[in-house]
Amino acid sequence: MVSNQCPVTESILFIDDTIASGGLTHPRSRRIAEEIHSLLNDVAWGRAGDDHLPAVQDLIQELLEKKEPQGRRLGQHLNQTLADNMEVFESHVKTHNCPTETCEWLTPAPCQMACPAGIDVPTYVTLIGQGRDAEAIDVIRRDNPFPWVCGLVCTRPCEFMCVRGRMDTPVSIKFLKAFAAERAMSEGTYRNPDKEPDKGKRVCVIGAGPGGLSAAYYLALKGYGVHVIEALPMAGGMIMVGIPRYRLPREVIDREVAMLEELGVTFAFNTRFGQDVTLDALKAEGYVAFFFAIGAHKAYKLGIPGEDDFPQTMEAIDLLRRVALGDRRKPGKQVVVVGGGNVAIDAARTCLRLGCPEVTIAYRRTRHEMPADEEEVEQAEEEGVRFSFLTIPAKIVGQDNCITGLACVRAELVQRDGSTRMSPVPILGSEYTMNADVVISAIGQKVDQLCMGEMKTMGWTRRGTIDVNSVTMQTSIDGVFAAGDAVTGPATVIEAIGGGKRAAEAIDRYLLGIPQPQMPPVPVRRRREECIEVPASTKTVIKRPVMDMLGMDRRRTTFQQVELGYTENMVREEARRCLRCDICRRCGRCIEVCRDKMGISALNMGYMDFDHPVPTDLRITEERCILCGACAANCPTGAMRIEDRGDERLLLLCGTILNRQKLVFCDSCGKAMGPRKYIDFINKRVKSVGQVSEQVMVCEDCARKKTARFNVDTLPI
């Protein structure tokens, strides 16, 4: 089962128990234990510095040298816990992160945990909401060197995990990032961080795709000399030749790659590993570590008769590459694309733009099972791409070296014995032929192992991908690391970026002789930004903006960017929808206290349950809340706050003003007594010391003084 006990917290509790049991009889031992307790508390709350853990180790050593048995036992226990979990202790100090989620102050938000690159989403969304776009880009680039690219093409796992999605719709994280990157680039505030001093070592990166470029960026920042070898004539890899320009303009890639060149990263284009250059030759040039991010550029074949008989049969990935490199010839008039993924959609939409009048996507399951992005499918349909679902291609037919059609069989989805999967099964007698003069296969890609041919000792998985340790990205060859599609199979841009970043960290450790971690790195919280204040009614009613799109005629005829981006006002408003889950851990204590202890039930926040969210209405709090502050007093992270401002008392949840009411002041001393609702609530339950009428409000202290004076004055001496 899952172990959720944090060793830091466990150590603190162990010291508590030892002290409470009275076992430490020697005053010096007790004082040492208290000092360790205090230092570990700093670690648990993210207040520790670099000296904390060495200081703890010194104190443990002192305990071990004492003759008191309980003190020695405590020292041995702490020593063992520290030795077994040093990485977890260090992550608390260095990255302000508790991987077990026990130390609530240090736990990243679900969106950040969902990101394969671990970007601190709540921080940058808040910064964007405040108009601090360049700072937001700085935060993003700590974990992802390509915020602009990802702002346009990321599959946005962060949005799937966005807690706001349990309330209505997820925050539009992706487009906020794109806006900030574009704005920062346009204003000239998109900048590289300072590099570490030169380490005098050179690393070679093979493949200038997102994984390779990401590793190159972080290695360059660490002070290594980085040289990138790329078979294509430009950088970008699959994002350049696999993603069409109407989704990702080339300038976006070029501008972000140029930032790497500023860091001193050098490129050798049109250079194919295995042909133009070998590992031995590179080693002879002085490179001490190698990072392979060669992607998965080889397409699967359809495996049906006729596939190799006609020149009009092509692979989607080849078509996309040719078009990206400048070939704009129309492949045919009646195009059938076989497949249901994003590549199939991209190929179909590209054909439309090249002038093909009729483009059909043939997919053997239903729309529901299509792995392509829902938005991409919708946009393809809007542009006129047709879909033929439950269609199994059987044979490519033609004559005189030209395709005339694609023979197909209709399918139905059935659940096979022993499987929960719905599989397409051909319906007997349902054979028919779709008219086609071009058939494009888009059923997936694999790694081209041939280009690694000379590396005989390279380990491969049964899936045909490079076998690596998924924590360190190390391959079976010493000093050779790999990540990206070559390791995962065709995957996402952000996953490749995350893999490249992880590999850079591992290469750094390898070259410095530091032991490698045993667990994948957990995302790092970069900051704890102040929350943006928004009234609950506004927070509830702001809607995710609708993206402006290019006119349909242009979409069908040009490769201009389809999504035109949000306006500045949309972006600033959208950022205010963020619930700041980096601060609120959704533990639900506030709800329990309000409902069970106070009997009020003013907090209606059904989104807090991951598995069974129920409706949320932040506005209800204002109707019922008495502003007693019990929720804030019990909040472990400071997400729920109550504060008096001028003549008002406010209740805020991560900046959302749940309630604000006028304060009533003592008529005698002028002290704030709380809002009228709160005073009424208390008065119903507690007999007041003094007389409080509707006209005169006197606080408890003043009432007591008044009564006491009366008693003293009238008591017989």
Partner: protein, 70 residues
């Protein structure tokens, strides 16, 4: 395709797949959301990208996952 994007799943058992590593043992029992089903080739063997609640995003074999009824 066993899973679709956005589907809630549970890691209900260890996988026998070669890609399962020992640190993944602590994922058993966790819930998450499929963020990339990677089904372009309709391979029941393909690794799928799952965002696990509180544990980050990982590629896991499909035989350790089951869908949670909503």
């Amino acid at each position: 395709m066993g899973f679709r994007k956005g589907q809630k799943v549970e890691v209900y058992q260890r996988s026998k797949d070669e890609s399962w590593e020992s640190y993944m043992d602590r994922f058993v029992g966790l819930h998450g959301i499929i963020t990339d089903p990677d089904t372009a080739i309709n391979d029941p063997d393909a690794l799928v990208e799952v965002s696990l609640d509180g544990k980050g995003t990982h590629r896991l074999p499909q035989d350790c996952l089951r869908a949670i009824d909503e």
